[in-house]
Symmetry: C2
């Protein structure tokens, strides 16, 4: 819970010492606070040939109240922004000057359809990156490669991944870099996702590649009902498993702050902590062992009357051992609680129509499920299975407007990581682009974005909340 190195190097004396010894200096990340403006400062706009998302971006920037400056690559931005009634200026690459004057860099690469057209990518980031301030945001927008008409266009769009992941590793200073592929026809669905990636809510989410897709080859999903950006989950009911403590309690808290009524679930032995967590959120508590055979029916019965809009499968356990030393019981209980129980509960909620149309399922996976981990064959298998669940169920749920996604936390500061051996804990903390562990609230804010009514175009995807950990597959 306590990264004393981070605090030390951000003190006047510690900072001087770290500098003189050449030690890394992790930035104190700016996180969302209800009493501070979520969006402010200058956003630089760049673009490749024929940008297709400018209208949608102008609408977004008007709604979040940032001021844009157009890089020379984005020649069409100024007249368009003016038409939208936006204050806008031109970005002047000051040779040695004005570091930190920009809050965000936004590049529309949607029109690039050949690798010979990459010059503006270099021009824009070459000119602007040094002017981006601490905890700044980089977002590149493109088209989903697999939806491109020609191999040349697919190739060019796929190449953006290499650029964005490199920018995330290069930028440091608490800056995040993410890539959002917007399917042709889904331009109106970008706001919730771009707000998240431009906001301090995404403090520990970097190097991610997301897709916003509509209804390609399918019936259009039900329209998104009206919502209030300040309380987007008002009127929603959210089930959160493992809600008593740690990441689960943070999820419950953030969803409640966004307006949801939270129904927290945890095992009977955690009843007091669960009650304490849900009581202060004006939520409800269900003390069940989710792995018990009768649990799905019990949960369904408890939710039946009012239904549920958001289901967060957060409950999970670890029982680490090398497989040669792992008992059958340790293997089986981790698979059952972390994976099979999720399957049984969703089946019960879906079969009974208890999860409402337009609902949201978010399952907690792990970086171990992506990359594997020594001593965690059981845990990694279960968490890779969670990714399979999300990928397999998304197409089936689309017709009802239900999305299903996973978050994969990296090193998050919790009671669990506080008990790790020092060397392992320090490696986990520093081996990422932020040079520090994340906080439970970082996972919770990411889940709140996926649970948002405006995230209807995001489904079947996995988001790492890992500060762009070096570790991967």
């Amino acid at each position: 819970m306590n990264d004393s190195y981070l605090k030390f190097v951000n003190s006047p004396f510690g900072g001087r010492l770290a500098r003189s010894l050449g030690l890394p200096k992790p930035e104190v990340l700016r996180r969302y606070r209800a009493d501070r403006p979520e969006f402010d400062g200058l956003i630089a706009i760049g673009a490749g040939r024929e940008p297709r998302l400018f209208d949608a971006l102008a609408g977004l920037i008007a709604s979040i109240g940032m001021t844009s400056v157009a890089h020379e690559s984005a020649g069409l931005w100024v007249p368009l922004a003016t038409r939208h009634g936006l204050m806008t200026g031109r970005f002047e690459p000051a040779e040695a000057g004005a570091p930190g004057k920009l809050a965000a860099l936004l590049f529309d690469a949607s029109g690039i359809d050949d690798s010979s057209q990459f010059q503006p990518l270099h021009g824009f980031f070459h000119d602007t990156l040094r002017s981006l301030g601490k905890c700044g945001r980089i977002v590149v927008l493109g088209r989903p490669p697999e939806a491109c008409a020609s191999p040349r266009q697919w190739t060019a769009q796929r190449a953006l991944e290499g650029l964005v992941r490199s920018l995330g590793k290069e930028a440091r200073r608490g800056i995040t870099a993410n890539l959002v592929y917007v399917e042709d026809g889904s331009e109106s669905a970008i706001d919730a996702t771009l707000r998240f990636f431009l906001s301090p809510r995404s403090a520990y989410v970097s190097g991610q590649v997301m897709r916003i897709a509509g209804s390609r080859n399918e019936a259009p999903p039900p329209p998104v009902p009206a919502f209030d950006w300040r309380q987007p989950l008002a009127g929603k009911r959210a089930l959160v498993t493992g809600a008593a403590r740690g990441i689960g309690a943070a999820i419950a808290s953030v969803l409640a702050a966004e307006g949801a009524h939270v129904i927290g679930v945890d095992i009977p032995s955690a009843r007091d902590a669960l009650d304490a967590t849900t009581r202060q959120l004006n939520g409800s508590a269900l003390a069940f062992d989710i792995a018990a055979p009768e649990a799905p029916a019990q949960i369904a019965a408890a939710l039946d009357e009012l239904g549920v809009d958001i289901v967060v499968h957060n409950a999970g356990i670890t029982k680490d051992k090398t497989i040669a030393r792992m008992t059958d019981a340790a293997w089986q209980s981790v698979i059952d609680i972390n994976l099979s129980a999720q399957e049984r509960i969703d089946d019960a909620l879906l079969a009974g129509g208890i999860l409402r149309d337009g609902g949201r399922i978010v399952a907690v996976s792990s970086i171990s499920g992506i990359a594997g981990n020594a001593g965690q064959t059981n845990y990694a298998t279960s968490k890779a299975g969670v990714i399979g669940r999300v990928e397999s169920m998304a197409p089936q749920l689309r017709a009802r407007g239900i999305t299903i996604n996973a978050v994969a936390p990296g090193f998050i500061e919790t009671q669990m990581t506080a008990k790790m051996p020092l060397a392992l804990r320090e490696a986990g903390r520093r081996m990422n682009s932020m040079s520090q562990g994340g906080q439970p609230v970082d996972v919770a804010q990411t889940i709140a974005w996926l649970a948002h009514p405006g995230s209807a175009g995001v489904t079947g995807q996995v988001v790492r909340v890992c500060g762009q950990s070096l570790i991967g597959a």
Copy 2:
């Protein structure tokens, strides 16, 4: 080129010192040698419920001449193997005994269709992993998740990734672990791929997930012509770019050893080295700058009469700088040589029908293209684009029986890495499951597998040759 630590800790004195200091002891990897048997020793067979690949596996094991022992999870193996005329026995989990007696572990998970059926995975690897010898092989076989009929089956098959990647990280001792998804109906196409993953040829390939797929929803590809396993590329003509030195020369050498006539390409300034490489392989040399506008037509003209069967896009350059310090020329030349030139050359070879039906394209990507890398925005963008090329062109080339795949090397010992600063070089060498860098021949052997006539079912895929590097996306 020279990992002196690896040599030191494998000397009698160095080994004792490393042990007493608790230092890692990388294994000297067993690599393919023409004068040693490629396959020998015992292979333990395990299975989940209703294994679907036993017949194909019995045929494979008969052809490579290994002896199988059946784990209790694979009850049906013994009668089936006997029907195939194989020598086979039963694996007895010896409590403390017989470490190193197995050469390979093979688990058929193809029939597992629910996460409640994972017990045999634990049972098999729990019982056998300690008996697997140095440089042993682990292969798990499943069904491609995305081709599964139900979400439950998809989830269960997807979960195998977490298991296999964890086994790779846990096993150490030069052991590799890979996952092969075999599409229903492609059982007859597994031999070349399983031979590769069981052979010392795959010494530095671990933690990979490959798919063998036929012609789902499409016309069947042309039948694979007969070939000789000892000279599978006999009669084939192979174009290799960047062939003068390093990894390219190793590729040329391995393809020639497999029977191919190699046409090496390199820039005119490397003409002498190129001539020396190709002369000793009885190959041909083409001194072209592949990025020159006229190069595609020149290469096409040089190959026109006899055509070409295998194209290996290996030529590439780096010009590393942070993007703020990177010149436009450095950005553009890396994109052009590493990515756009490949596109132009393939277009010329395909448009002219010079690349023959049943042909093979293999492009060299990089772990930087997967994960991004600070100081390599240009290189990572180009190498991510190579992945897009492979993914986008595979469906288009399938009807002609042409496959296109990419290899993504991790840390490979070359003249380039020998020039890296010591700390960076040591980090690159040790941060993988083999605790060492790979050799150019490891990349070359992987390419030879993809170029094999028996690899017709492998297309649109990326194989990392990285010893299961920790680094990923």
